[in-house]
């Protein structure tokens, strides 16, 4: 039995694109869909936190949204791990964070360093890593969300996630997957995904994960 950690933000948590809507049910979250697609050969642990960034502080919430600060604790809590899948970056586009896909890519590279350092320190084998470029943001009538994420100028940045993350993945010798190829953002808030598109990420990852884990 293999163990996979899905480290992400509200898209991994399964937040609703409807304002005030409930969390997507367990079966509709992408880590669950991925686990189902692996046919009992792996457990997928979902660590998705709304607002999580790659490496930026954000004290708008009563939770630690800095992905770099929390990652060692999450790794330790769920080890031993065979694979870590990281899908972050959407929140990095907020104007008060890094603003750009390029900065988010640097944050993802930092997370790779953290994983490698964590297991090197413990003299344990390191898990494989997939960097996942999140889906592309779309225009919306939800002005609240639009202004929070900086409007259309910042939305355009999300088209560059795939290019930037692939570059960092190649540099560091880790795997890459572009979730924008399988999931479309819900225009009701321009950021989050409906159930079908959330599940699609898990299903879309199945072949790559099988190949990496040899299952």
């Amino acid at each position: 039995m293999k163990t996979i950690l899905a480290y992400g933000d509200s898209l991994t948590y399964g937040a609703s694109p409807i304002k005030g809507g409930p969390r997507h049910v367990h079966e509709d979250r992408w880590p669950t869909a991925l686990e189902a697609g692996l046919g009992g050969k792996a457990r997928v642990i979902a660590e998705g936190l709304g607002g999580r960034t790659t490496a930026h502080d954000d004290w708008f919430a009563d939770a630690d949204r800095n992905g770099a600060r929390l990652l060692p604790t999450m790794l330790e809590s769920h080890s031993p791990l065979d694979l870590v899948i990281i899908m972050l970056g959407t929140n990095d586009l907020k104007p008060f964070h890094g603003h750009t896909a390029s900065e988010a890519g640097r944050g993802m590279a930092r997370l790779v360093q953290i994983i490698r350092g964590h297991y090197a320190q413990k003299r344990e084998p390191e898990p494989a890593i997939i960097l996942v470029a999140p889906p592309i943001l779309v225009d919306t009538d939800n002005e609240d969300m639009k202004s929070h994420f900086g409007g259309e100028g910042f939305y355009r940045e999300s088209h560059s996630f795939a290019r930037e993350y692939r570059r960092r993945a190649d540099e560091h010798g880790v795997h890459f997957f572009d979730a924008a190829t399988v999931a479309k953002t819900d225009p009701r808030d321009g950021i989050h995904l409906d159930e079908t598109n959330t599940r699609a990420i898990g299903t879309g990852l199945v072949p790559l994960v099988k190949q990496i884990l040899g299952i």
Binding site: R23, L49, A63, D64, T73
Partner: protein
């Protein structure tokens, strides 16, 4: 389907002191609890080696302060029906606090955090079950792994103080020392597989009652 968070330390993570590796998934107490609840609840294992109730410990390269991390864990797994807190063994380390009273104050702080966290949506805060950990056995002084002071018998007082804190907070309480012993674990602190499983099995009726669900038929 109910959701239960098991917030703990290495006894929840499942440290096997004889191999210094993790017990099999099936032997972890959150797993045996989930199995005993027969599909009516999912139990999330949030165990972390060395986690304390509310104290910093920079002896490891990750955050062991249970009070600092709890809000992030609550936000990650929200909505939750029940939070089970089993911490305190690490608080017995003399460089942490070595005091059962201080550990109970830490548990009180964790209850406050779980009760007052600004959960999304309008649902109520989860129920809380405080679990006093198995008694830390008298340790042979060990050069390799001097976890606790062999002089202290402090952990025997955890149950008394936890029961009191839980009662005044209106939280449920269970004493895991009634069903599990560290005597056979290898280092005086950690549990073997059978004693780890025993905690989940013993918690099942308590949890079923809190959640208003039925246990699985006895296997």
């Amino acid at each position: 389907m109910k959701t239960v968070l098991a917030y703990g330390d290495s006894l929840t993570w499942g440290m096997n002191a004889k191999t210094m590796a993790r017990h099999a998934h099936e032997d972890l107490w959150p797993t045996t609890l989930e199995a005993a609840l027969g599909g009516s609840a999912r139990v999330i294992n949030a165990g972390l080696n060395g986690r304390t109730t509310m104290f910093d410990d920079h002896a490891a390269g990750y955050d062991r302060n249970g009070a600092r991390i709890l809000p992030t864990i609550l936000a990650t797994f929200d909505p939750l029906d029940l939070v089970i807190i089993m911490l305190g063994a690490n608080d017995m380390k003399t460089f942490i606090s070595g005091s059962a009273v201080a550990a109970a104050q830490g548990v009180k702080r964790l209850i406050d955090i779980a009760r007052t966290f600004p959960y999304e949506g309008k649902h109520a805060a989860p129920a809380i079950l405080v679990v006093s950990p198995p008694v830390v056995e008298a340790l042979k002084p060990s050069a390799d792994f001097p976890l606790l002071s062999p002089r202290t018998d402090e952990s025997r007082d955890l149950a008394k103080h936890y029961a009191s804190v839980a009662a005044s907070a209106g939280a449920a309480f269970f004493d895991a020392a009634m069903v599990a012993t560290a005597a056979s674990g290898g280092d005086g602190v950690h549990l073997d597989a059978a004693n780890t499983r025993a905690i989940g099995a013993a918690l099942a009726p308590v949890v079923a009652k809190i959640l208003g669900v039925r246990e699985a038929r006895a296997a």
